[in-house]
């Protein structure tokens, strides 16, 4: 059986209705999972002996602005054993924008989640150290949200006084 078919079958058997959508596009496999199952799902992908998705290569989010479930958190995970990357997605509500952390499964997700929190304001529950990654700590906004102006909000970032 082809590996993608194997993943689909195993995941459907294991998680049933929690798997919201499975999309295959140009040899990429994307699986949308309900946000309540994300940690179990991550653990399963990592620890199953056939799959072994041991590396979290990237983690980010999408702001859909107008959708009811405003944000989608996107994970890219890689299996060395099978030389294969899959994409995991999870849709979350605008209020509250939060999802369980997967840094307990993949340690590399730690800083990716901090970055996503910084840019989108998505809270990762039980994250060991959820501070901002790029923006100064006192900053109040989340720049990659669609309602944030590209040029920024005047006066929101401190600048040294002008030398007279």
């Amino acid at each position: 059986m082809e590996f993608k078919e194997l993943i689909k079958k195993k995941v459907r058997n294991q998680f049933g209705d929690a798997v919201e959508e499975v999309v295959e596009f140009r040899n990429d496999l994307s699986i949308t999972i309900s946000k309540n199952n994300i940690v179990d799902f991550a653990k399963y992908l990592k620890e199953d002996s056939d799959l072994q998705f041991v590396t979290c290569k990237d983690l980010t989010a999408i702001d859909w602005a107008t959708r009811k479930k405003r944000f989608t958190v996107v994970y890219h995970v890689y299996s060395f054993k099978n030389n294969f990357t899959i994409r995991i997605k999870s849709n979350i509500d605008e209020e509250p924008p939060q999802i369980e952390t997967v840094s307990s499964v993949w340690e590399s997700a730690d800083w990716y989640e901090r970055e996503t929190y910084d840019m989108y304001g998505i809270k990762f529950i039980n994250h060991p150290d959820l501070r901002r990654m790029y923006m100064p700590e006192g900053f109040q906004y989340h720049p990659l949200r669609k309602d944030f102006p590209v040029i920024g909000i005047p006066g929101s970032l401190p600048l040294p006084k002008k030398v007279e």
């Binding site: 100064p136 720049p143 920024g152 909000i153 600048l159 040294p160 006084k161 030398v163």
Partner: protein, 170 residues
């Protein structure tokens, strides 16, 4: 050269203290290479033998602000980096000058973005703006020569009462 001819004739010249000081000052402007991004590469190229900034006495890039007269801000200044740039500027002894090298430092350039300062003149007194993205080394050398012209017009007493570091600046 003019000076040697003078010595052959009478063995002395008449001048003013101010002229001697500005002559010395403009002939050895030591830059602080504030190379933050890609403009830094052109700044380095300006100092290499092909373009040879040494012809104008400015080849001595000092990596401590305490020994510099001229800050060449070469690259995109973000709001976070602005604090650092200003702190280094404050550590340079008076008198001091600033070149805003390239589009980013002059106006934010193509980075019309929340993270980039739209022109370092919001927090630094810029003397010469240099166009280009990045500017050619010749352009930077031209900017240094403009600084030299500016220094020539100064008088020693202009700098007498300035404190070395303005502690209340922040």
């Amino acid at each position: 050269m003019g000076l040697e001819a003078k010595f052959l004739q009478d063995g002395f010249i008449t001048t003013t203290i101010d002229s001697v000081i500005t002559w010395a000052r403009r002939s050895s402007v030591w830059p602080m290479p504030m190379g933050i991004s890609c403009c830094a590469i052109e700044m380095i190229a300006a100092a290499d033998p092909k373009y040879d900034l040494a012809r104008f006495g400015s080849e001595v890039m000092r990596f401590t602000p305490r020994q510099c007269d001229l800050m060449i801000v070469a690259g995109t200044v973000t709001y976070k980096m602005a604090q650092v740039v200003r702190r280094i500027y404050d550590q340079m002894p008076e008198p001091k000058w600033v070149i805003a090298m390239g589009a980013c430092t002059s106006s934010g350039g193509m980075y019309r973005s929340y993270s980039v300062v739209q022109g370092i003149d919001q927090f630094l007194p810029v003397d010469v703006y240099t166009a280009g993205c990045p500017p050619r080394p010749e352009n930077l050398i031209n900017a240094v020569m403009e600084i030299q012209k500016k220094i020539s017009k100064t008088r020693a007493r202009d700098f007498q009462d300035n404190p070395l570091i303005n502690v209340d600046a922040h």
